[in-house]
Amino acid sequence: MRGRCAFRICRGSEAVPATLRVTDASEAQHAIAGLLADGRTAEIVARATRRPYGRPLQTDAILDLRALSGITVYEPGELVLSAQPGTPLSLIQSTLAEQRQHLAFEPPDFSRLWGAAPDRGTLGGCLSVGLGGPRRPSAGAPRDHFLGVKGVNGFGQAFAAGGRVVKNVTGFDLPKLLAGSLGTLAVMTEVTIKVMPAPPSTSTLLLHGLDDAQAVALMGEALSSPAAVSGAAHFPAAVANTLPALRSAPGAVTALRLEGLPRSIGARLEHLTRRLAHYGGDCTLLDESVSRGLWVEVADVVAFAGASERPVWRLSTRASAAVGLARTIMQSLEGRYFFDWGGALLWIELAADSLAHQGIVREACIRAGGPDAHATLIRADEHVRARTAPLPPLAGSLAALTERIKAQFDPQRLFNPGRMYAEL
């Protein structure tokens, strides 16, 4: 791709990029036209809470969308909400809660993991990073709830895609492409998401003392049952002991979440305990508030929040490969880990930082995880992230296609250049 990065690095990292604050869509478009005319690159931010994700940026300017904030349309009966991208997620979540609705994709907040105070950031940031929480297997990720977008591309052109209704197949599904694109394709100026009724009640069944293999098998069986399990995580003892919600239970813990009407939860619990009885061991039930707390801790990975100098990896894999993958990595590196998504998501905190772990983790993905396993370095020193690829690399044909897509949205590489991949 283009050789513009070298030019910017020559200017030195001390140079302070100019901040362009925009308050509406037309100002955003105007600012982008200016960047385009001057050939200047920009970091796209709002509250910047997710800045530690991906590669660190060196840009000529900062395009600050924080003031592009506010819910523009909320129609609970239509299950849709539109907002400007700088709208705080906390405002959206409290607004939804008033109508007993929620974001079913359970957006995680990694602030504490990154050594900062809790801050859910903005809706735009959440969609741009695109990660789903513990409800991922049953309710999907942000991509599954992202219905419509208005934005400005790197040609300086405003465009819209998708719609404001929950069922729509008119034209290419560009919202999905923008979800998880880390602001490298377009600057969003308004987004529409699907919102869902919040489950009135939550309960969590804890099963104690299972090893990893037993736990992943049990979670698979639970997720294969009609009990509508909406969270399935396993914490080996070294992690379980550090979670406030599990402190009273020594040893490994496997957690299964059930949500819905209390009577329904009761019936499903009965079904589950009967079906899973052959695994043996003790089980306990968490009450409503402890249960809610536990799944926030799982989503936000608070188990690894303490020692911010230690690298944290997030591995996505097929559940059937998860135990082998964890074992392979732990044979070479010291650390702690736990499983979410019934095993399909593996979180690892390594004891010490080094550049060597990258090769070991990625190699383990290939050898033990299967063709679809991939690892993201979620927490690492800035210089490590700058010198390496924190996001999983793409196969050759996909990398080429990805570059062609980038060129059709942002050919001058104005937006977040190098945030995803050095060359993108």
Binding site: E75, E78, A160, V165, P226, L398, R404
Partner: protein
């Protein structure tokens, strides 16, 4: 309906193309006789017909790749086709294009219960996936009404829905990965069996891309455990407004039924006459509300809806007391299209989505339009998600009725957009709604979509004439600076 003009140079090289294609796909896999090509001249949108230059039926991914690489080198257009059940003309051939039919790729490759997914070739029918996993208590959730015939590859192309997608999502929410051949013959894998994939969400844009981005040669579909129980309520209303307010009350109460379907008077009467489902005939609107899950949950939901129904002024309520009765409730709804088809030689099925609160207003306007055009209309409605299927009755043998029906349909879809909805909820744009795209989108919106197309298919060889009212001009788009959203060549011919 104008399609891109055929290139006589390509048409004249037909024999050469047939010979070459037979090198990649031996035996009966290349079809060239007029009699056999006639079978491929249309899909589920039968109003438009055009035999292709040739039909190729590859038997594996390697053959698909060889065929596409050849077409790419020759500048030969390609129309991908699954089972040919598209209702929007997505698989309508062109005179100078070959149809690549995926029907021979019809095997379920792997059932992976540990990761709750099925790996299938694209020609496997939607229902066959459910049948393959039924013995272990699983199913594939999206259930378009053509599920007995439509293929999973076609479902991906159209991002198909069904009556249960309010609760369980569309195809895009239920597919984990695909293998796809790009127009240059290269093979890419998007997604897999893990829940997310690195890089841009290309799987997300391939779903619903209507054969414009590549040819899907393998699909990994999520399967779900079948719910313990299902129960349906059949509710009759004296007015459409009352039915609409009942739907709103159910959603407002925080319930997401597994299915929520509405029919208007004409649809009810037609369905009842056809399958004798036991529908009341003295109501203006009928609602089927289905819940699934554990017994205790269904009981609670049903009793909530019972209370709501009374407040909404329903005059009729039946709750299924057996599986047989539940299926009977559905029998009328599932047969609604053919039932309406009995009332008239032809019918034209529309597919707009509207904000649900606009339902009474939209149905009133449709009824007025029905008077204006002199054509009857029956309304079937996925009420939970606002997806409206007006069925316009006409007789193609009578003078200008097809033309009238199409104009009536266009008016309905324009109305859907005007009230804040969209042109298509699940059938796709295809050729049918292509020329209405500018009702919903600004030129700059369509240009961004076309730019995406250019990243996959810069020569515009895959399914040209579909989705976009103007052909992609990738070279122009690449350097174009559009001012105020104005198209640079407004006077270029449309088709």
């Amino acid at each position: 309906m104008r399609m891109p003009a055929a290139d006589p140079g390509l048409v004249s090289r037909r024999a050469e193309f047939l010979g070459a294609l037979r090198r990649f796909v031996p035996g009966e896999g290349v079809i060239g006789t007029p009699e056999e090509l006639a079978a491929y001249e249309c899909d589920g949108l039968t109003a438009y017909r055009q035999p292709p230059l040739a039909v190729v039926l590859p038997a594996d991914t390697a053959q698909v790749a060889a065929v596409l690489a050849y077409c790419h080198a020759q500048g030969l257009k390609v129309v991908p086709r699954g089972s040919g059940t598209s209702l929007s003309g997505g698989a309508l051939p062109l005179a100078d294009a070959i149809v690549v039919g995926l029907g021979k790729l019809n095997r379920v490759l792997e059932i992976d219960y540990a990761n709750r997914c099925v790996v299938a070739q694209p020609g496997v029918t939607n229902l066959a996936i459910t049948q393959a996993v039924a013995e272990r208590g699983f199913y594939y959730a999206p259930d378009p009404s053509s599920q007995i015939a439509c293929s999973i590859g076609g479902n991906v192309a159209e991002n198909s829905g069904g009556v249960h997608c309010l609760k369980y999502g569309m195809t895009t929410n239920n597919v984990l990965g695909v293998e796809m051949v790009l127009i240059d013959g290269s093979i890419v894998r998007l997604g897999g069996r893990a829940y997310d994939a690195p890089g841009y969400d290309l799987l997300g844009i391939v779903n619903g891309s209507e054969g414009l981005l590549g040819v899907v040669t393998e699909v990994t579909a999520r399967i779900l455990p079948r719910p313990e129980h299902q129960q349906a309520l059949l509710i009759g209303f004296p007015t459409v407004e009352a039915a609409g307010s009942c739907v709103a009350a159910i959603i407002d109460h925080g319930l997401i039924p597994a299915g929520m379907e509405m029919m208007d008077r004409l649809a009810i009467q037609a369905a009842e006459a056809f399958v004798h489902a036991g529908y009341p005939l003295d109501v203006e609107a009928l609602l089927i509300v289905e819940f699934d899950g554990p017994r205790a949950e269904i009981d609670e939901h049903v009793s909530i809806v019972e209370a709501l129904v009374a407040r909404c002024g329903a005059g009729y309520l039946r709750i299924s007391s057996s599986e047989r009765e539940r299926l009977q409730f559905w029998a009328g709804r599932k047969a609604a299209f053919p039932a309406v088809g009995r009332l008239s030689p032809d019918y034209y099925c529309m597919d707009g989505t509207i904000p649900r609160r606009c339902l009474p207003q939209v149905l009133r306007r449709i009824s007025e339009l029905s008077q204006t055009y002199g054509l009857a209309v029956a309304n079937v409605f996925h009420a939970g998600d606002g997806n409206l299927h007006p069925l316009i009755l006409y007789d193609a043998s009578l003078g200008d009725q097809l033309d009238k029906a199409e104009r009536f349909g266009a008016d309905i879809l324009t109305l859907c957009v005007e009230v804040g909805g969209v042109l298509t909820g699940e059938h796709g744009v295809g050729v049918e709604k292509r020329d209405l795209m500018e009702v919903q989108f600004q030129p700059s919106d369509l240009q961004q979509q076309q730019r995406l197309k250019c990243a996959f298919d810069p020569d515009g060889l895959l399914n040209p004439g579909k989705v976009f009212p103007h052909l992609c001009r990738c070279a122009e788009l690449g350097r174009m600076h559009v001012h105020a959203g104005a198209l640079r060549f407004p006077d270029l011919p449309r088709f």
